[in-house]
Amino acid sequence: MNPRSLFKFRLYVAGDTPNSLQAMSNLGALCQKILPNRHEIEIVDVFREPKRALADGIFMTPTLLRLMPSPMRKVVGTLSQAGSVLQALGLENVAA
């Protein structure tokens, strides 16, 4: 994996519920720390765009999708356990 490649994320949230807010801030902090200037985050509110959630198969919120680099990865939850999130997103090496 090219260490300088761009990371694209899509975060599905359910309005401003506590879980969703927490996930947004956790993701923001994580990206700032590990992927400064090489990440894009799209926030999708399932209440506003239910069809997109349906299309992406989102049943639990919050859900984070790593769209790029492929393959796609999916992490469910508030992203509060940084270790497992990094591992799931393939960022352990980047962080090190």
Binding site: V13, A14, V46, F47, P50, A53, T63
Partner: protein
Amino acid sequence: MNKYSRNLPVQNPGKAETGIDGFDEITHGGLPRGRTTLLEGGPGSGKTLFALRFLVHGAQDRHEPGIFVAFEETSKRIVANAENFRWNLPELQRKKLFFLDAQPTPDLVQSGGFDLGGMLAALGAPVKAMGARRIVFDAIDIVLALLPDATAKRREIYRLHEWLLTSELTGLITTKADGDEASSLSAQPFGFMQFMVDCAVLLNHRVELGVSQRNLRIQKYRGSNFDENEAPFVIGKNGFDVAISRMLGQVDTKVTNERVTSGVKRLDTMLGGGYYRGATVLITGFPGTAKTTLGGAFTQAACKRGERTMFIGFDSDGTEVIRNLKSVGIRLDRYIKSDVLRMISARSITGSAEAMLVRMKALTQEHKARCLVIDPVSTLAKAGNELTAHGVAERLIDWCKSDGITLVCTSLLDEMHGPAQGGASLHISTLADTWIHLNYLVQAGERNRGLSIIKSRGTSHSNQVRELILSDAGVTLADIYTAGGEVLMGTMRWERESAERVANEIAVVAGKLKRVSLDAEAAVLEVRAKSLQTELVAKNVEKTLLVRTTASRAGELSRGHTRMRELRGGDAAVTGSKGGRS
């Protein structure tokens, strides 16, 4: 709302029909409309099938589109599994049935808490687009298991419940349970769901002596009365079939006075005209007492009238039965050819009595039979079914009565039991309208079949034991002989009868003889009477002759005196002499 209920006048407005035979009856209309129902059951207890049936019925027959949220099985597999039932899912899927695959993928990574808000929001789109009225969450336990603690689980269930209530959908949530409610309350982490929902249904699947028995029980139903007992059910051709007996308040079936022949002429006479149409006739007896033959005689008679008939044999193959019955002059093969009669041999069928009943019902309805013979019905009480057999027999009779089917069933009696038990654990004898008992009478080195009518509701019937005689000419009943308090059958009866015949003949001859001799005596007397009569006539003639001669002689004599006096001239002439002179 009226868009859906306009053309459905029979539907209970507060309930959503499931289309499951029997279930709608015991709940008086189905699941609570616009509310949540919890369906619990162990593995393979039929949860998914129940849920799917509920949606299919709504989509197909009630104009209530539905959504199936599949947490466990993929929608593809569910559709494939349901192919055996005639539900036509692919067709429904286009407009009225929506499957949402919500299985957590194995590579799903979870970090921190989450909720189901996303899914519920996402569901809002299809609900709106389709105008969905029903929704199923299949195997909610799968997704709840991902949640970290009990509080989170509870919160999500409440979220789901709230969502269902506000969206006014009739919801059905399935979850796994042991089936045993005692343990499910305490051991189950989602036990509180039972308190939250408006209706809870338990599905049970247990095995007794190797026979699978399925049961369904409604645990609670807010705002409605319901049948609280366990109801057996089977998974059959139509998907789901809950067995119920008719309940109080249901309209009684039509009762007719029409009689149908039993196929044995003298038996009809004994019953005062035959069986009633739509009656249940029980024929009990030990092995080999010609129970099947009586059933066969009835079958033949029904076929002769052109009535569609079904013969279900648990003992032997249909062809065997036909061959055996041929030997007593009952010919059924031609009716099979003309499709009036259908013979089902179910010798090898094992399984729950409930399943057997459903199968028999389906076959009979398929054949549109008016007469049904089950030989022997005691098979239903085979090992593993002791507990349910009675209920099954009850439902069998109930169903036959409500459909107006005349049912003749034979029942095998154990050598050990007397007829008092009438079909052992089935207790069918109390339910049957007519009970004919066949027995052996062993006497003077012979075993003869005796037939007696133990009961026959609504008909006068003979109190006599008759001898049942099987010959190649058919089945007949003979009077038995009672002499000196002893019942005679078979050869002894024949001997007694022939002795009587001889005695009769002698008496007839003696009578004739006596008559002839009396005739002769009478003839003699008559002849004598005639000759005496003639003699009498002769005597009378003689008598008149005598009178006449005496009179003329007297006249002659007086004339002679006068003449003499004239000649003597001594006396004056008397008047009388003048005439004599002229």
